[in-house]
């Protein structure tokens, strides 16, 4: 990664500001994504993720600061930007009546690819998306996961240096979601810079770096593992046959900051300073539930940072 990080950024935001009326949707946002880096943007609904992505790809003009893709200012670059950027918004429209091949041909023409270049590129993209044997199927007849992979292939036809994806796996089942992620890693290994917004915390944890957006501001940014290491609270797992009763009883114990059903039991986040008191009360209350410490995960980080920032 070291030589990758020293090269010039594929995507960059410097002090981006965007208002809608009196609402400040994005406030002083700076970030930088290197070639071969996978960067995840997470945050509660309404935090400004989609606005930030739209500013970066030049679909919105900032009220302050600037965004650059491969060095070119996003909102001013026009066609030059389109050549170095792939963008997949939440609602990505392909032509439902056209086959996979025909959709690719349409986008190939749009980007002015030569026929040799087009053929090579299509063979490569259909290969890595495992769509080759479906190439005659109409887009409307594809499953959700295959449709997303075709949309991704269309966005990558012209060999962009940066790819921006707005919640690419919404509505995609767990198996297809994993396939899409394997595909993203293949692309990143080839040197593509990827910026994506996601509501899935397990996906965020698999990014090289994540930025946590809250109220339009970047309130944390680091490698997911580093954010988990910096987590100050303690996580416990409570095994309980009667989960609802356990939840009610644990709610008022000292230091409990968050409590949620998790698999067969409950996950409890306890402030470190109160952990001793929490454990004592848990033991003395003659609770018939089993308590054990567990490693905090990225979702814990997200939840507690979001709650703290509110």
């Amino acid at each position: 990664m070291s030589d990758v990080l020293t090269s010039s950024p594929a995507l960059e935001a410097r002090g981006l500001v965007r208002r809608f009326g009196r609402t400040v949707a994005v406030s002083d946002l700076s970030l930088s994504i290197a070639p071969g880096e996978l960067y995840g943007l997470v945050g509660p609904d309404g935090a400004g993720k989609t606005t930030a992505l739209r500013l970066l790809v030049g679909l919105l003009t900032p009220d302050g600061g600037e965004a650059r893709v491969a060095g070119a200012v996003s909102h001013a670059a026009g066609g030059a930007l389109r050549a170095s950027l792939g963008y997949m918004p939440q609602q990505y429209s392909l032509y439902g009546d056209l086959s996979i091949d025909e959709n690719l041909r349409f986008f190939g023409d749009l980007f002015g690819l030569s026929s040799t270049n087009f053929r090579e590129r299509v063979a490569h993209l259909l290969g890595i998306t495992q769509l080759t044997r479906f190439r005659d199927r109409r887009a409307d007849a594809l499953s959700g996961g295959m449709y997303k992979k075709l949309a991704l292939a269309c966005a990558l036809l012209h060999r962009p240096r940066a790819l921006v994806l707005d919640e690419p796996t919404n509505g995609v089942d767990p198996v297809s979601r994993r396939e899409l992620w394997e595909l993203l890693y293949t692309l990143v290994d080839e040197g593509l810079a990827v910026l994506l917004a996601t509501p899935y915390m397990d996906e965020a944890a698999r990014c090289h770096r994540v930025g946590l957006l809250q109220g339009g501001r970047l309130i944390a940014e680091d490698a997911p593992a580093a954010l988990v290491r910096a987590f100050e609270d303690l996580a416990y797992f409570v095994t309980a046959a009667d989960r609802d009763a356990a939840e009610a009883a644990l709610h008022d114990l000292p230091g409990v900051r968050a409590l949620s059903p998790h698999g067969p039991g409950l996950r409890v986040i306890v402030a470190a300073a109160d952990a001793e008191a929490f454990r004592r009360r848990f033991a003395s209350a003659d609770m018939r539930w089993h308590l054990e410490p567990t490693a905090p995960d990225f979702e814990d980080v997200f939840l507690m940072r979001s709650i703290d920032a509110e």
């Binding site: 609904d45 509505g171 767990p174 397990d202 698999r206 997911p224 949620s260 939840l303 979001s306």
Partner: protein, 315 residues
């Protein structure tokens, strides 16, 4: 749940064909009052087709089903009056205010007078929007829009509620708040039929059915599904500071290791299903170290429904 469970949804041999394609193939199950029933499967497995039939929107090709006592083929109108339905595409008018949207649904359900006013107030309360009744719906954050869609679907107090991917694209905090409401509704006796791709949510269902290619291939409690479909010991392996590269190194080292049945990345960790002889403290870590992954921390973990899903769908 009541001691004598009352069947609210009863499905027998339900089948739907589209031309030569069998979207739903001989599916049978029943759901009892106050149950949260999860209906899972890959995209295109037949989940939405089942829901459309159970809501009286699509006639079955074969088989039968009753919902709240009404036959879906012969009495689709009665079915529609006794259910609430909410889909991933929130069925709200973005250019109307919160109150106007509720008003629209109250009219659709023919609520009038004091009952109408009372139900609308309760809906605003449920959605947490009592102080924002004049806000434009499109200006609400996704989580609140989703609560409003849920409250709209409940205005006529249906005994059965169908939720088709209600939390797609919703952030973790809002998803938790949404599920608190779902569990509260179930405790109050509402029967809930839910599809989701978030398998942590499926863990909150009383029972879960798994659809693969139109067939119901498994139906049990979450604990029962795990015991049947992902037996053995599940270990969770992390590499601390290794991040994604560390995760991939662990997976590479697991390939071909005797006693290892399978593995899946989960966030920053890898879930590994192993034979009992690999389950003892330090054993898997030692094997990983032999293969060049020295920094692995290994802890016992519970199999999740995602493990079950992957086992069934990838078979």
């Amino acid at each position: 749940m009541p001691s004598e469970p009352e069947t609210v949804v009863d499905v027998r041999g339900l089948t739907r064909r589209f031309g030569a394609f069998v979207a739903v193939n001989d599916v049978s199950f029943s759901v009892t009052r106050g149950e949260i029933f999860g209906y899972l499967g890959a995209n295109g497995a037949g989940k939405s087709t089942t829901i459309r039939m159970l809501c009286g929107l699509l006639a079955p090709t074969d088989g039968r089903a009753t919902v709240a006592g009404a036959d879906i083929a012969r009495e689709p109108g009665r079915v529609k009056r006794s259910i609430g339905y909410m889909s991933q595409k929130f069925s709200l008018y973005a250019d109307l205010t919160v109150a106007e949207n509720l008003d629209f649904y109250a009219s659709a359900y023919a609520l009038s007078g004091r009952l109408r006013a009372a139900r609308m107030d309760e809906a605003l309360e449920l959605a947490g929007l009592a102080d924002r009744r004049d806000a434009l719906t499109r200006e609400l954050p996704g989580g609140l829009r989703q609560r409003l869609a849920l409250a709209s679907a409940l205005l006529h107090r249906p005994p059965v509620l169908f939720l088709d991917e209600p939390t797609a694209g919703v952030d973790p905090l809002a998803r938790r708040a949404f599920w608190r409401v779902i569990r509260e509704l179930a405790r109050g006796g509402t029967t809930l039929f839910v599809t989701t791709h978030h398998l942590d949510e499926a863990e909150l269902c009383h029972r879960v059915g798994m659809m693969v290619d139109g067939r119901l291939v498994a139906l049990d409690t979450p604990a029962g599904l795990k015991a049947t479909h992902v037996p053995g010991t599940m270990l969770s392996v992390g590499t601390g500071a290794g991040g994604e590269a560390g995760t991939r190194a662990v997976m590479a080292a697991l390939a071909g290791m005797p006693g290892v049945h399978g593995w899946q990345p989960f966030g920053l960790r890898v879930h590994v299903r192993v034979d009992p002889e690999l389950a003892g403290p330090g054993r898997l870590a030692a094997r990983l170290a032999e293969r060049g992954v020295a920094t692995a921390d290994v802890e016992a973990t519970e199999a999740g429904l995602e493990d079950v899903f992957l086992a069934l769908v990838r078979r």
